[in-house]
Amino acid sequence: MRRKSPVSLSRRALLTGLAALPLATMFGGCRGSTSGRSARRPTLEVWAHAGQVGERSTLVRLADSFNSGRRSFAVRLTLLPEGAYNGQLQAAALAGRLPDVFEFDGPYTADYAWMGQLQALDELLPEELREDLLPSILAQGTYDNRLYAVGQYDSGLGLFARRDRLAAVGASVPTAPADAWTVAQFEDLLARVAAASAGKPPLDLKLNYRGEWFTYGFAPALWSAGGGLVSRDTRPLHAAGVLDGSKSISAMRHLQRWIASGRVDPNLDDAAFTAGRVAMSWVGHWEYPRYRQAVGKDLALLPLPDFGTGTRTGAGSWTWGIRAGCRHPEAAAEFLRHLLQTANVLAMSAANGAPPATRSAVARSPLYAPDGPLRLYIEQLARGYALPRPRTPAYPAVTSAFQQTFHAVRDGADVPETLQRAAALIDRDIADNRGYPHREAVRA
């Protein structure tokens, strides 16, 4: 992990140690101040999450390329560990130490905007750029009819599969979302593949992951069954009747059954698919580079199974925003524009396999060309099979409740009771915060 830093880290540590005085950090000031030690030009603080290797190195490269262009300011990129990323951001926000530009997980847009931590981007980004963005990206970044966040990429979720293992049991391979297996077909397939490999678990659900994955990866099962996390269209927002409704219960029961009957690899080493132990991996776009390297041409991308109302899948990914108190938003916006340049969007997409956020990039992407290997993701986004996670300031409570639910269900808990407790938790959070009333204006 590299950081662009005008001052060598160990020198700063030594000086601090000798002084043993409270160190005023250099984070969180859009003052454009020189750091006093050696910065040649004013610095914009930028935070991002430390994702997969390719993602990280690409982002560092993009920051470097920005800095080497002739500009009156530079950006300093800090990569934060992904675990508890949102908690860390909020802790910084509490202390008034948010950086000028920061990345965050898309579903948290409403939360950050509601808390007044983001600046509206409508005036800062040119109209051509906004029109070039995918509708899902715009929808993700919008709260209260204003645009607060833009991402370089959206996400794709599906089943990666080894064709040979499927062919060995004579399975048909669906290519379009409309042809997705029904849950019954899927479970039958799992049984056949398991039988063909002496009972070894045929499916990987990334049970070794932590945090947001479980909401992102498995809420689509609820949606596909006709249920969900919270009410989608009816106001006021509520979880009762939705999260603990019969449709959601049935979807979670399917998942529980797969795990309980030994169809799922615990995947402690995160190598179940690459090492060939499992035939299918329920995961998002970020594994494409690694899987492609391990499996080669035999790698297939399939839609998730249909739990009742058609296949559904996830959408939304990391997105960028500008701190509300930043006094040089044009400079910050310049950095965002740099990130959204077609070449840069393509570079990131090539590194992490994600669907590019702009139409011009999609058009030029080999992965997402009409015959490209990841075309399915774009189709899912375009045709409404991909749904965003609930866009509400209550999202932290929603996702925390669902993650806990998934873990309990995975360990054999009673599904209706667990879902009901989660729904109660969410509804109580909404009530405690008086329904998260919309903000009238952004505090500058």
Binding site: Q90, W114, M115, P266, L268, P396, A397, D411, R439
Partner: protein, 305 residues
């Protein structure tokens, strides 16, 4: 303290100012960093405060506490904390005592063993947790599973320790005991080595056997170190957090959730500051009560009056 010949009145006066001067830095630190946040927690626990919320904090009285009273997860956390303490404190103390006794006989290489038993204490709990995740790996390949398989002559079914609601808490307890026993052992060993040999010899002359010597010489001689060790270990066992956060995240099915874990989860992951503060207050009250009870029951000799 009685006046000794030579001490003057002037010394006492100066002592007043000097006494306060010497104790002030530490006292100030304790007030600012312990007492004040505690008072803050009391205040926060009477609201629905959400981290970063633009809504003001509204006073809701004891509602947070009422919710905790009826929250099955929190109740489970309290039970788990109790189980954890009841399991870890005696087992770890007995283990440490046994090791200390075994090391107390002069034998070649005893120092090496002593170092070995103390080594886990040097490991930070976060590292211990990560390593033990591997040890508890499910399937026949896991280290513990295969060891148990060997020990039971292949009658052992591999278990997923950290995901089994009955085994997860004992698994975490075992990890904690492994990490902490060495520290108690050193204290008890020092205590053992402080018992004068004459007492043993006198008892032997009086005809006491090994076991009686243990009961009537060793244990009473170890009274103070044992009390210290039990109280400190109890207090420390209530604070269990790192292992839970890293190894099980409170699961499976709340089997390993603890009060501190839930407080951090509420306040930090879910931004529910009021709820987290209420948990902290409840936690303090319980630990205080238990510690006071312990001190009363285990009055140590030569206590300061």
């Amino acid at each position: 303290m009685k006046r000794i010949a030579g001490e003057s009145a002037r010394t006492t006066l100066t002592d007043n100012a000097t006494g306060w001067l010497m104790v002030l830095p530490a006292l100030a630190g304790l007030v600012v960093f312990v007492a004040v946040p505690f008072v803050l927690a009391l205040g926060m626990s009477l609201t629905h405060l959400r981290m970063g919320s633009p809504l003001g904090a509204q006073f809701v009285g004891f509602e947070q506490y009422l919710r905790l009273l009826h929250d099955t997860s929190f109740q489970r956390a309290l039970i788990n904390n109790a189980l954890f303490a009841l399991g870890v404190v005696p087992v770890q103390t007995l283990l440490a005592l046994g090791l200390a006794l075994a090391l107390n006989r002069p034998l070649r290489g005893v120092a090496v063993f002593r170092t070995l038993f103390f080594m886990p204490v040097v490991f930070p709990m976060s590292l211990v947790a990560v390593v033990w995740i591997l040890i508890y790996a499910p399937g026949p390949n896991g280290l513990l599973n295969s060891v148990l398989d060997t020990l039971t002559l292949h009658h052992w079914q591999p278990r997923d320790f950290l995901h089994d609601p009955r085994l997860a808490l004992p698994a975490i307890m075992l990890t904690s005991i492994w990490q902490g026993a060495g520290f108690q052992m050193v204290i008890l060993l020092a205590g053992l080595q402080g018992i004068p040999r004459e007492r043993y010899e006198a008892a032997a002359v009086d005809g006491a056997g090994r076991w009686q010597r243990f009961l009537h010489v060793t244990l009473p001689g170890l009274r103070n170190p044992l009390i210290f060790v039990v109280i400190v270990t109890s207090i420390l066992s209530f604070r269990v957090f790192d292992q839970v956060r890293i190894m099980t995240q409170g699961g499976p099915l709340d089997a390993t959730t603890t009060v501190v874990y839930q407080a951090v989860q509420s306040a930090f992951d879910r931004a529910q500051a009021g709820r987290g503060a209420a948990m902290a207050v409840v936690f303090f009250v319980i630990v205080l009560a238990i510690t006071l009870i312990q001190r009363r029951l285990l009055r140590s000799e030569r206590e300061v009056r």
